[in-house]
């Protein structure tokens, strides 16, 4: 059943640009794919690995900034800039993870958050690359081979491809030896160590993979809007990604994708499609959409922690 649903979704996604060639929808869909990728990468660390990292935005931001800096410095080829950015994100994850994973519980949350904030402030002070105003790019990177990333339709397919690879990769990973262990570690870390798994190294590997994938999402994010600013690194962005993951279903394969779609879809719906009967009671409701987001998130956490994509019941202590 799942196979058919996935296949159908893929066919629809592939056909979409042909049916709706307007820039706005293509662009919006691309944005969903990019956030879906970011949320899926967080889902690996958080949902599968059980690591509550409040600093994931740092890796997305690293990918975004490094790729943008390459462009700003005149290196137009995506074949250079993009892998470099992903590698930078992976490196950041390696360093941050190596230090943070020595800690547990709230200390881990705090340290990941601290590192993310450090990067945020660092980037904020880089006047050469826009500082707090951000960096606008004249054009997207060039991929050569007759592929024009500047075209919205082409970018759409690139983003879709990246997301598809990520979800498939997560699927393979979840069923692999590594995936088994990581989920076991999430379940009972002490016992995993006690039966002979090198837990620290395994968690670090998971963290780095998640960081690298997040970096790729960042690359696409910056490329999509041809703009990047320090807010992409702020801890509240990590929070937004977490919201997407829990909305979609923590630890579920499609959790990130479903959550991103639901979140962004809802956000767009509220902002751009005025519902008259709500407006009659509450005239400015569209400007206060985040109240609704907060209320929905709270409701989900309190009453439906499984999220949309399926059943996931977390036990007592993280």
């Amino acid at each position: 059943m799942r196979r058919y649903a996935t296949a159908a979704a893929l066919v629809l996604a592939l056909a979409f640009p042909l049916a709706a060639p307007e820039s706005y929808y293509l662009s919006f869909a691309s944005r969903i794919f990019v956030y879906a990728l970011a949320a899926t990468s967080l889902n690996l660390a958080l949902g599968y690995g059980g690591m509550i990292s409040f600093g994931h935005a740092a890796f997305v931001g690293t990918g975004a900034y490094v790729s943008s800096i390459f462009l700003a410095e005149g290196v137009a080829s995506a074949w250079i800039g993009w892998p470099a950015a992903v590698a930078a994100a992976a490196l950041a994850a390696l360093v941050i993870g190596a230090v943070s994973l020595r800690t547990r519980g709230v200390y881990f949350i705090m340290i990941t958050l601290a590192f993310a904030q450090m990067m945020y402030f660092l980037v904020n002070s880089m006047k050469a690359y826009g500082g707090d105003e951000g960096l606008t790019l004249p054009a997207r990177a060039s991929a050569g081979l007759g592929v024009d990333l500047g075209s919205d339709a082409v970018f759409y397919y690139v983003a879709l491809a990246a997301l598809a690879c990520a979800v498939y990769g997560l699927h393979r990973l979840a069923h692999s030896r590594f995936g088994r262990v990581i989920q076991a570690i999430r379940e009972n870390e002490a016992r995993a160590e006690a039966i002979g798994f090198p837990v620290y190294r395994l968690k670090l590997a998971c963290f780095v993979i998640a960081g690298a994938a997040g970096g790729l999402a960042g690359v696409l994010l910056a490329s999509h809007g041809k703009y990047v600013n320090p807010n992409v690194l702020h801890w509240t962005q990590s929070g937004t990604l977490m919201v997407m993951v829990i909305l979609g279903g923590v630890g579920r394969l499609w959790g990130g994708a479903v959550g991103a779609t639901a979140y962004l879809g809802l956000e767009d719906l509220v902002a751009n499609h005025r519902v008259e009967w709500i407006a009659s009671v509450f005239p400015n409701y569209q400007q206060h959409a985040s109240l609704g987001v907060g209320a929905v998130l709270l409701a989900i956490v309190l009453f439906a922690p499984q999220g949309i994509a399926g059943a996931f019941a977390r036990g007592r202590r993280a």
């Binding site: 393979r172 262990v181 002490a190 039966i195």
Partner: protein, 247 residues
């Protein structure tokens, strides 16, 4: 095989382990007994690597493992089971055991190949399930098992790592008479393949299984010897005064 010398550990003002000297020989079942609060679990934790000792040395198979991380000790053949059941509750019995098999066979840094493509893991896990008396319960979720079954799985996880020496921390804890007999039979079955350091309160089991017995009181080993000798030892009797030798 296992040799502890002068192992000590304190928590703030409390001395949990006080210069313990202990050894376990190849092929023996060595029981560790003592009144509540003597520090038996703390000692087991230090041998296994859950806790670090403040001073002293732990030698296993001739190698100094005092500072070795837990997973390395397991890899070299030193495994433990827990007094308070610590299993992977959301996994099935089979998956629990397969995990332990996976840990000792090959690298887990394999990201692509599905575990299902490795029938050897599941086969060995099935054999283990039979050995610990859980044949037929392989697909059951670990959380749904009865207490006795969970304790069996608890021990099974330690045995699945194919240890040379296994530390069993009160495997009979909370068990009724039938389940206890099954657990004792299990230890009898495996003693030919693996040395055992057995912490137990159940004196019936201790005197049936043990080749040698050590007595731990307030963090110190006050006596080590053959079961009959220990039973007759005046100092040991004094330590247990007021404690009924409950079966």
């Amino acid at each position: 095989m296992l040799e502890l010398s002068n192992v000590s550990k304190r928590f703030g003002g409390v001395v949990a382990t006080d210069g313990v000297a202990l050894d376990v020989r190849r092929g023996e079942v060595h029981a560790l007994i003592g009144p509540n609060g003597a520090g038996k679990t703390t000692l087991i934790a230090q041998i296994a690597g859950d806790l670090s000792c403040d001073s002293g040395a732990i030698m296993f198979e001739g190698a100094d493992v005092t500072r070795a991380p837990q997973h390395e000790r397991v890899r070299s053949g030193l495994a433990r089971s827990y007094q308070i059941t610590s299993i992977f509750r959301r996994f099935s019995v089979l998956d629990n055991l397969a995990l332990a098999v996976q840990a000792r066979s090959g690298s887990s840094f394999s990201f692509w190949r599905p575990v299902a493509a490795e029938p050897a893991l599941a086969n060995e896990a099935r054999a283990l399930a039979a050995q610990i008396g859980l044949a037929g319960r392989e697909e059951a979720g670990a959380a749904t098992l009865a207490h006795g079954e969970q304790r069996a799985l608890e021990v099974g996880l330690a045995l699945a790592t194919r240890p040379k020496l296994v530390l069993l921390d009160e495997p009979l804890a909370g068990m009724g008479p039938e389940e206890s007999q099954a657990m004792i039979a299990l230890v009898e079955r495996v003693r030919s393949e693996v040395a055992v350091l057995l912490v137990e309160h159940d004196m019936d089991a201790v005197f049936r299984l043990a080749d040698r017995v050590s007595v731990l009181v307030s963090g110190r080993v006050i006596a080590t010897g053959l079961p009959a000798a220990i039973r007759a030892d005046a100092g040991v009797r004094k330590a247990y005064l007021g404690e009924s030798a409950a079966a």
